[in-house]
Amino acid sequence: MSSRRLFFNEAIARALAEEMEREDKLVVLGQDVGAYGGAYKEFAGLYERFGAQRVRDTPVAEAATIGIALGAAAAGLRTLVSITYMDFLILGLEPLVNYAAKARYKTGGAVRVPAVVKTTAGAKGQGVAHAQCIESWLMGVPGLKVVAPSNPADAYGLLKTSLREEGPVVFVDHKRLFSTAGEVPETNEVSMPLGKAAIVRPGTDVTLAAHSYAVRIAVEAAERLEPAGVSCEVIDLRTLAPLDVESIGESVARTRALVTLEEGQPACGVGSEVAFRVRERLDVGIRVARVAARPAPVSSNAVLEAEVLPDAARVVETTLTLLEGR
């Protein structure tokens, strides 16, 4: 299949453009998503092409904006609502968690909410309230799907799939990913199911499991560990809910060691869940460690940000310690 090199933000814009072309009922809402094209130009071109009715700038009112997107989807539209940063998603969790996630259940199937809530996680110099990764909160909400791609091809594929789901999906991207490039297949087909992790680097000694931007850190760590004689298998979770425990489990069954990596906090994080589920599945003893943010807010201060965020050096160190005396 032929492919084209796109930036992550371009992959999002392309997926949206194709899906809006295909589905008249798909409407995009969010702050500065219109003529401005989004904080990271990930909506570039949509307003010009589909107009102000279908690409709607909203006031700074995250709660109502999400509620409106969900209500509209429940009533027959399909919607994608953009929440600039995941920190502000907190303002609009009420309709997402109390209404949309439960709508199908509580109505006994009478109402479904085919909406995508797209939001940007991660730290990049903007300080304590523009930096958080709280995707783990959403993993424990029955009725929500949670997607967190690490590269343009997955962003494209998973967004298209998400936009065709029958229930609410939270699509989490990352500030540091928008300007990364990658090959994206030249196809309009939807062929990337939710709930499938990917082995992005095969290896034999340890499995590194990560999602979103942290996958790049994991790969970097794997490259650094190779000369030290440690062969890392890097797994990109891609979807956090449903979680592809099977693929991670298969990998760990081979490597017998798991290091989870995430940019968010460790406590009740993605890593603790992955670790629990994998161990539950395997009947052999495995070594497990997790790497995550240190337990502090993420300051805009470059020194402090770098210290709190996980990096390849910490993954290397943790992995070496874990494998010590193998």
């Binding site: 006031p59 709660a63 409106i68 009533a75 439960k102 509580k106 109402v111």
Partner: protein, 312 residues
């Protein structure tokens, strides 16, 4: 939709709510319920202004709105009592009752939580372009919530076909409206956004109907939202398991304003409904209610397996 609803229909609809709730109160396993008795005229008046295309959303005080919108009483009763024959297979109950096919998009037990959802439903209606409108009933308590502000603003900016119906029964649980909302009239909350507003006697079903009809017409024409405050009385305590905070005198004064009593007297006085007609009406309604009790009594509960269906 007829230009003016039949007053006897309105009376029937209000009586149905009242008698339905009286019967519900006698059900041993009725659980936690919020009753609409006293506030029937709000739901019935608003629904008289809606037609088949339209959708209604309510707060957790959903029984009146659901019945007024025309969901069959036996189905409502089954849902409230947790039976699988309810429109939500007994999963939603009073707090989340929904039947979009009947034009009742649903209740939402989070105070103020229905507002932005309703605006979304009205956005879908607007884009569909069939002239449908959406009405959202919320309480005076919800007027303290930021959700109202955000939704009013966007509804005004986007000229959404949405009627904000504030059923002001004077209390949020124990808190009188004067200590919950600084606005003198709750409809004043619409002023900054340039949204047309009315405050009416919520115990007068015609006053409610006329104002709702006016806003529905405006919205259908594409001229955007309206804000209708209906001043009503809640006859019972906040919920079936909440302590009453009003004195007997206050309660008696509230019950004096009974919308059924007043409309009944008026129809008797002007000769629209004589004693015989009235008792036939009551019998009809009682029959519906008995049937609802029978039906829901016989209907099965969900099985434990149902607990994990319709999740994602």
């Amino acid at each position: 939709m007829p230009d003016r609803p039949d007053p006897v229909d309105l009376l029937r609809s209000m009586l149905l709510i009242r008698k339905f709730e009286e019967a519900l109160a006698f059900q041993p396993d009725r659980g936690f319920q919020l009753l609409s008795s006293g506030e029937e005229a709000v739901a019935v008046g608003v629904c008289a202004a809606l037609d088949d295309r339209d959708q209604l959303l309510s707060s957790g005080r959903s029984i009146g709105p659901a019945l007024a919108r025309g969901i069959e009483p036996h189905l409502v009763m089954a849902e409230l009592l947790g039976k699988i024959s309810g429109p939500n297979r007994g999963k939603g109950g009073r707090g989340h009752l929904a039947s979009p096919d009947d034009g009742f998009f649903g209740a939402h037990a989070v105070v103020g939580g229905n507002l932005s959802i309703a605006a979304g439903v009205s956005l879908a209606a607007q884009l569909e372009g069939r002239g449908a409108v959406v009405a959202c009933i919320f309480g005076d308590g919800a007027c303290g919530a930021g959700a109202l502000h955000e939704t009013l603003n966007i509804a005004a900016l986007w000229k959404l076909p949405l009627i904000f119906v504030c059923d002001n029964n004077g209390f949020s649980i124990s808190t009188p409206v004067a200590r919950g909302v600084a606005a003198e009239r709750l409809s004043d909350l619409a002023i900054p956004f340039g949204i047309p507003r009315r405050t009416v006697d919520g115990m007068d079903v015609f006053a409610v109907y006329e104002a709702a009809r006016e806003f529905a017409d405006v919205a259908r024409r594409g001229d955007g939202p309206g804000f209708l405050e209906c001043r009503s009385e809640r006859f019972a305590s906040h919920s079936t398991s909440t302590r009453e905070t009003r004195s007997n005198e206050e309660l008696a004064a509230a019950r004096e304003r009974c919308p059924i009593l007043h409309l009944g007297a008026r129809l008797e006085a002007d000769g629209t409904l004589d004693a015989a007609g009235r008792s036939a009406l009551e019998k009809d309604v009682e029959e519906l209610v008995s049937r609802a009790i029978r039906f829901s009594g016989e209907a099965p509960r969900p099985s434990p397996d149902d607990a994990l269906s319709d999740v994602v």
